[in-house]
Amino acid sequence: MTTTTSTEPKVPAPRGGSADAADGRERVSAFWSLSRAMLLGMKRDRTATFFILLFPLVFLVFFGSVTKGSSTPHAKVAQVGAVKLFDSMTGEGRSELDKVLTITRTDDEAGTLEKVRKGDFDAMITQGADGKVELRYTAADQVRAGALQGIFNSVVQEANQQATHQAPAYVVDAQQVEDKSLKPIQFLTPGLLGWAVATGAVFGAALTLVNWRKTKVLRRLRLAPISAGTVVSSRILVSLLTAFLQTGVFLVVATSFFGLKLTGNWWLVLPLVACATLAFMSIGLLAGSVARTEEAANGISQVIVLPMSFLSGSFFPMDGAPGWLQTVSKVMPLHYLVDSAQSVLTRGGGVTDALPTMGGLLLFAAVLTGIAWKLFRWEDA
């Protein structure tokens, strides 16, 4: 060894345990340096960065691209021969119809029917000499099939009505209440964001705890004169920064590339994400307290996060799910995050919508942290 005591300028400091006396001018904060250590470690861990940031984004890009522009049930219809019903339509009525239908004229009835079966056309329309309009459609896409039938029924009824030369007795004026721009990206963004935040916070807390216990970093922290509060709060800071970074990236990507339209109170998503992060961290803390190995912590976290994401409507809306499943989803913190995030991001929800959710999430975090505290172990027994 080249460095020995003789070349070392430092002389043993006076005994007495006051380490700060040795260099009182240097001020250091255990809280900031611990937070910095965790952030640096995370930044340099490519796998962690991928799963926390890029993987959810890949999902957003994937779902966003797949569903882009598919919200209007534009149908391709083949018209065989003359169909007086359509041919006679002119002006406004015709242009309204062209918005939802693309009508192609053919003469080969059998061949066209085959094309409908294969899905090249959504429907085929013919009209007999007796005035009977025949519609043959494919039910491969049930929503579109339903819409088609509705369109044709109304066209036929309107034509019938005009033929009687009487004013209609009843009229329906239907209008959508949401912003007309409620495209899939409007519910995909809050859903996938919720999933990303849950993944980051649950796995982050669980794996850190187990890794620290296994490598004895936890023992080192315990043997250092810093409080548990310092350790916990710096871990919270790191998780919050991660969650905000995820939120920022998600909103930027969704608004710039997929036409997400934010409503007035969208900033409320930040306190919502913060409260949810605490709730997810408490789940991770519990998983990390129970698990002995990183593999176990990983497994437990996965078993919690994935079903929770599906049940909370992260990937698709839960409106169509059976009632009992919706009830199950109501005990999950992610359900409330997704719900409220949707409300404030895309449906003009305000503080009064977000506050109860925040309170609930914090309560959830408090209860689970309490349980985790009871199960917490400094050492592998």
């Binding site: 060894m1 460095t3 300028p9 043993p12 400091a13 005994r15 001020r27 250590a37």
Partner: protein, 305 residues
Amino acid sequence: MTAAISADGIRQRYGDVQAVDGVSLTVEAGEFYGILGPNGAGKTTTMEILEGVREPDEGRVELLGMAPWPRNPKLLPRIGVQFQASAFFRKLTARETIRTFASFYGVGPKRADAMLERVGLADKAETLTEQMSGGQAQRLSIACALAHDPELVFLDEPTTGLDPQARRNLWDLLRDINDEGRTVVLTTHYLDEAEVLCDRVSIMDHGRILHTGAPAALIREIDDTVRISVASGQLPVERARELLAAAGADVATLEDDTVSLSVSTRLPAPVLSVLAEQNALRGLEVRGATLEDVFLQLTGREFRA
């Protein structure tokens, strides 16, 4: 002056295994104290109880006049603990690692960097701890334990798994640490390490301390049997037995393993003269007792590291 460590009757049981079975010891301030024993002897558990990370089933411990259990924040800045495993944060460089740990004690980056240089890692400051060799990681671990200038240092098997050169370098460092007036407690399963470094050694096996003393004194206390060996093939073993008996030599063991002819005796002079008369001194080696013999004597079996 209060003793650096005083432990009295500590016991710890894991299920069916009595890991520590009534250990009492006193370490004076400034002493280099070794706990020597094979794997599974209870050294690590004893250390953990002394450090205050484990509560003993029974017994009482005081470090620098204070109880280490329950966690005592007043005591913590005065002790430094080096870990058997390399307990570092993930993906940090050596410099970032020691600065982080130093900050927990209110110690600034300058002192942390100085300590890194002290253990000869200045040129490895920007290396991630995951990419360091075993010896470098051990030195970093020791530097982290020393950054806050503790008066009592615990080292748990610091040289395990190091190559001979790295071990010797580390020994120099440990001796310097002790020379500065720090009390050092070291566990090891290397007898030579204890012999070279420690002022006093406790030999431990099956959770008990069998004997405590200065290494030289321990060796002297047991029968000083001298082991004399020469190269095989110079003197048949039967002939040697006859000659030695005729010369009145007190022979404990006599054997020929086809490489050496070895004789253990308390009185080397007559044995040596017999061998000289027979002109059978090629490859002569005379060796006194070592800690290994002490261990054999105390436990009745070979030392197994």
